[in-house]
């Protein structure tokens, strides 16, 4: 399968990428590791007229200790996130979930920013971002702005990023003493999750993010509220599917996904020591 023809622009800097986006608007797509976008282009589900390759912007690949949070450059590859001692010690849930993204070959190419900006409800990392209450940083013609993760996912494969904006940094709160659990249910090792759950507990506060339970990545707000009210893991997990609208596909219908969400949430919370 070969993608439809496109014009290729290799950005030498973030400024060049922004200039290309400003010129080509919604006809352009950014290319990072390409492991979400290229499969869609090969299936001709995406046919951008212009591809702006930001894959060589090495200054957007970093993991820094920024005081109360980790600052992770969007072009940091999954492999570098999962093997980072800083991520393992300060954001263990992120390191663990990243080690379940795709397979080793995918993790050698795919990037954390690409995965999040793609906005796929079936991706693992958005659930981690929701659970850990990450903040995203975007750069556009008007400068930089922060976007809370709860405001980021706006529709199926759609995000709050403007056509002229570039996601630059992921800010993940440092939670060295947190307990957490990550659950991913799939039929074959490297498949997308039929349902997945990221759960984290720190200082009595909890965060629970769901994979593939709606048209966008969603938070299990009912579970978080139940836990805040003192519910046990198994009681709180009963609320996992509340307010969700799970997709139906050849793997599972909505009822099965709702059941999975409850079971996997309970397991994730138990792994987190609740």
């Amino acid at each position: 399968m070969i993608p439809a023809a496109f014009d290729y622009i290799r950005a030498g800097s973030a400024e060049e990428a922004l200039a290309a986006l400003a010129e080509h608007g919604d006809e352009a797509k950014l290319l990072a590791g390409g492991h979400s976008l290229l499969p869609l282009m090969k299936l001709r589900l995406a046919t951008p007229a212009v591809l702006v390759d930001i894959g060589r912007l090495d200054d957007l690949s970093y993991i820094n200790d920024a005081g109360d949070h980790l600052a992770i450059g969007v072009l940091t590859r999954h492999r570098d996130v999962e093997t980072s001692e800083l991520v393992q010690s300060q954001a263990g849930l992120l390191a663990e979930a990243t080690s379940h993204v795709g397979d080793p070959q995918v993790r050698h190419r795919g990037t954390i920013g690409g995965s999040i900006a793609h906005g796929d409800p079936a991706s693992d990392l958005p659930s981690v971002m929701l659970a850990m209450r990450a903040t995203l940083v975007a750069r556009g013609p008007g400068g930089e702005r922060e976007i809370a993760i709860d405001d980021f996912f706006t529709g199926f494969l759609e995000t709050a990023l403007g056509d002229d904006e570039l996601l630059t940094e992921i800010r993940v709160p440092k939670m060295p003493d947190a307990t957490w659990g990550f659950q991913k249910f799939n039929r074959r090792a490297q498949d997308w999750a039929i349902v997945g759950v990221s759960a984290i507990v720190a200082n009595g506060n909890s965060g629970v993010g769901l994979v593939n339970m709606d048209s966008i990545p969603v938070r299990a707000a009912g579970v978080e509220a139940a836990l805040a009210g003192g519910a046990s893991a198994s009681d709180a997990a009963e609320a996992a599917a509340e307010g969700t609208n799970p997709p139906s596909d050849l793997n599972a219908g909505p009822e099965y996904r709702e059941h999975l969400a409850r079971v996997l949430t309970r397991r994730a919370l138990e792994a987190a020591g609740r």
Partner: protein, 153 residues
Amino acid sequence: MEVTVTINGDSHSHDVEPRTLLVHYIRDVVGLTGTNIGCDTSSCGACTIHVNGESVKSCTMLAVQADGQDLLTIEGLADGDVLHPMQESFRQCHALQCGYCTPGMVMAAVSLLDENPDPTEREVRIGLEGNLCRCTGYHNIVKAVLHCAEASS
């Protein structure tokens, strides 16, 4: 667009369409057909090569993305007539049936041992999750990787 890559130590330059997939460039333009195309959807791993020493699926990368990079394909693994230790282990452990997945499986296995030289059986199985063997001959493939790790230690 002009693309220059090093493949198995040799430099290659060609003018390619931006939409040319790396695996098509390697097979159809350079003429190295040891790298197979299987599923063509980044699932099966038959097209696995190394880019700068790490395993990647060449069906999910554009040739223009590889510009300036150092590539290794299955043809570049052996030293003349002397097989790479992983190839030799696959031969000794009979780690292939039809052989279609083998080039990608070997390249993925070499990358796996580069990152984890002394893996457990479970780590080998998880480490090869990106490669499918339609003959389901996984047992001997895992044995071969463990054999290679042991022989190299």
